[in-house]
Symmetry: C2
Subunit: 605 residues, 2 copies
Amino acid sequence: MHHHMVWSQKEWLGLLYLCSFLVGLNETMCVFFLSSMFPNVIPDCDPTISPRLYHTCMAPISVSTCIATPGPANFLEEEGNRGLVAAVFGILFSSLCVLVLDSDPLPLISDSSQHNRGKEYWKILALLYYPAFYYPLVACATVRHRASYLVGCLLSWCHCVVHIWQKVDCPQSPKIYRYYSVLSYVPIILCLVVLSLWYPALLIRSFTGQEDSPALPCPLPAGWRMESVPSPCEWAGPFLEYHSLGHPLQVALLLLVAVVPTIQIVRVEMTKDVVVLLVQFGLVPSENPSGVPGNMEMELSTVKYYLWSLEGGWLSWVQLASGLPPRRNNLKALYQGAVLDVFYKAHILRPSRQAVVCWMSFAGFQTAFVCLGLLIQQVIFFICSVAFTFLFVIPLQSGTNTYFFKILQNMWPFWLTLVVTVIVQNLAAHYQFLEQHPLWKELTNRRALYIVSYLFFPINILVGVLAGLWRMVISALYNAIHFCRLDISLLNRSVETFDPGYHAYCHYLKIEVSQSHPVMKAFCLLLLQLSRPEGQPGLRPSNVEEGIQLMQTKKVPSSRAKFRQSRARWWLAYTLLNNPSLIACRKTALSDPTANGTRLSPPKP
Amino acid sequence: MHHHMVWSQKEWLGLLYLCSFLVGLNETMCVFFLSSMFPNVIPDCDPTISPRLYHTCMAPISVSTCIATPGPANFLEEEGNRGLVAAVFGILFSSLCVLVLDSDPLPLISDSSQHNRGKEYWKILALLYYPAFYYPLVACATVRHRASYLVGCLLSWCHCVVHIWQKVDCPQSPKIYRYYSVLSYVPIILCLVVLSLWYPALLIRSFTGQEDSPALPCPLPAGWRMESVPSPCEWAGPFLEYHSLGHPLQVALLLLVAVVPTIQIVRVEMTKDVVVLLVQFGLVPSENPSGVPGNMEMELSTVKYYLWSLEGGWLSWVQLASGLPPRRNNLKALYQGAVLDVFYKAHILRPSRQAVVCWMSFAGFQTAFVCLGLLIQQVIFFICSVAFTFLFVIPLQSGTNTYFFKILQNMWPFWLTLVVTVIVQNLAAHYQFLEQHPLWKELTNRRALYIVSYLFFPINILVGVLAGLWRMVISALYNAIHFCRLDISLLNRSVETFDPGYHAYCHYLKIEVSQSHPVMKAFCLLLLQLSRPEGQPGLRPSNVEEGIQLMQTKKVPSSRAKFRQSRARWWLAYTLLNNPSLIACRKTALSDPTANGTRLSPPKP
């Protein structure tokens, strides 16, 4: 019996640490691993308002509010309340994140029935329950009535107070990490705070008679908002705004919750046995290379020092990754009919089944891609940080373990050869193989060119190997950095639609362009203004300001219908010339005058 | 003192095995590792003709042949001898591969002086020595003289016989792997065999008076050659032919040499200790999960069975990866002036310093990229094969270790939910949200559309996570498969020139198009034919058949210079209309009639 084959638990622990260090995905593994290895001594805590009581009370209220608001629920077209819609989507996303790791997914149901085998069924049900649960928060804003604003006000306050109360009551929980529960609810509470400030503002404005105006309190700094979302775009607005600021921050917070405490725990719990293992693997410099555990204080401090630097680097990365401004250039180009600037081939900008499905799932896709992209970036950042620390920082700090520097030192004739070859080829090309005329350049000395090409063939292969490695690195980095961007295909242009993200984005654009062209909306506004008696206040032009900008129009004069008609005709011709993508819509409206009332139809000439 | 901390050598061996299994890069590591762990018992063998004697005799002969051939060395433009040039490039590449692992890089120098510290300097010198050493083999074919053919004949026979003799003398060597030395020289010997058949054929044809004809024995099957290289392209020819068949096979052979013997060695040397380790890691199913080494015959046979399947899979992959046909579409499009079909932005197709340097290093880059690409593909293939074996084959075969199937089984409600959601969204989009007219489709039921989008938001995030994983996998696979292809940029079209491979390819194309337009060459031929007295045999049209095809011309009639001139003018106009990229060249030639004699200039109208 080889007794050294049966590994002790400590050795397993050390190996797991090592693997997670090298692979870079240690955070999630360690979090679970440590929670089982070092159980927290925090007792269970029951908040005054239990989640079950909260959901049992609020769910019927939500359902009754849903039934009581029969008005239009076109909240995705709500201009002034985009921040409100974004906050609700943020709540949904944060609820999903909490749900994934939660032990009782549906607080409405008693714990005993959930702890049976059917837990995953409750999780699936919860995926539909939470959107319905928070639906009144968004529906109340679309009815445009004082009573609904009041209901929204009360509901958001209620949600907000209950959540804060629960977390103040029980700040620590035995789940995963001491403060995990509090930190995971921070995004939800922040979104609820936004809502509970927004609804009172809406209510106050409804009393001061400005309910039609979209000039509502905006939670974003004005300059930033004008820069990234220069003018209101009704459908894309909530999504873009939400994605640009809302959830990258939430994802970053979530990652912060997962990573930084883990690193802290690893640093605190780092024992000598693990250090001995790292020394044995040659990863940590030591004067005691056999790895016999003895005086390892110095090595222990080195490892802790490294973990400190990692923690700092991670925090700075979170700061950097938070800014992902969305792009509206493609939408603008399509409004002007420049299909080939956006797509590689010509597309018909019409709704289709696939386009509608992609439009419906676009927000979810965007969210998921941002999450995955941040995760990938974080893994790459982690690997690079580990490599940098072990190859540069620790060798330079301690003066040992300088394998990498030694390799570089031994290979310098090789690097020098490559550099000299490239320089010689450039000089020869410039002075020997190119005949320089004032206006053009021409090849010359062909025989020498062939011979030099032949002689440098083996060295050029080695240069090519370096270029190939660079190609690998740069394409991987490019794809990782642009993973969040749905408007960029990660595949070559000939097969770009095989990229599922880009595919969804293209179809999303089709619906956006065909349904919300600003010029079309500007026409509708003008038509409504013309058919209205003089003096009565119509819709504010701020609603359609983008379309009016595109038309470069002045205020419509209030005299002579004949003149107005001829002017409208001229405008139509001019606009169709500048916005060819509208022609399709126009013919549609002409051949079917009994179209759906909700559809925006252009005026007949 | 924790005695279980000091790992035994066997445990280290097992861990190294495991790492190499999981990472997929085991081959190269294992080859070195095993060569040090299991030293071969083959004694040193001195061939009758030692490498040193061979190089000492042949190097002066090569140098004297170089000096004795003052003729044009434009071997890269040699049409009929492209196979010959490709064979010499193949020899160079194989020599480089042998050189990398060789202990005495420069056989010309005595071993004692090489075994000093300056070994790497000799390797660098050898990078330039080998091209010069084999230069006469390619130069002799370009002089177009019987004596040079004879010299080439003798030289190639001499090289070939010496190499075969050396390997027959000493088939086994103590270096790395028993037959490594023989297998690594197989590509060189094959190329030398081609050369020693080609030169006699050239010599015989020079006696039968057909030396100008390019109809030389072609080592490729005619059908294949016509398909991938439909018509001769002078400069690109040798490279393309060489890359398409020559070196992918050589690289595959080299990888075969590195991988298959390793797997065989691993299979033979697989001991019970390693199996115990694999069982402990849960990778191999066992009825004895504690991993105490006892009756492990069954597990040992499982591991060997797995290694058998791996070996078979690897061999079949080599078969698949050998075919990488090159593309000439881009070159043809540029000949016809369709710059924007090839490049994203307009380019000026003129030689420049950068273009000349890229042209010179293109062959080396292409070779290096093919090698790296095959390596990457092999690593991916290895990882997929390991995953497939451990997740599907072994569980299905032994009925144990079915974690993966259990996970799939436990998650089926989750998968079902996602599938049902996608189907429901598609059905709703088709029947509810789209108003179907015979000619067009229009959005309808907007309110329901918004509510459904909102309710499905969390589930769509989960669908988006799967789509994101697919995006990751497909972009990585696409980049890995197309890594060898220099004509495809791995980056997005807006930044595609940051890809070093594609950058080199674009500049290479510039030189090719500006210097070897087939129509330009056809004009030159016609001009030479016109200025020659009647009846004398001129250059064969096969030399320029591509240009004549482009012009769709008939045989030139031999009467009336006036008629010929007017016809030539009409042709010129017609051709310039169809090949706008030629116009630049024409102006150049017009404004500088005293151009370099070797340059191909179009005729003046």
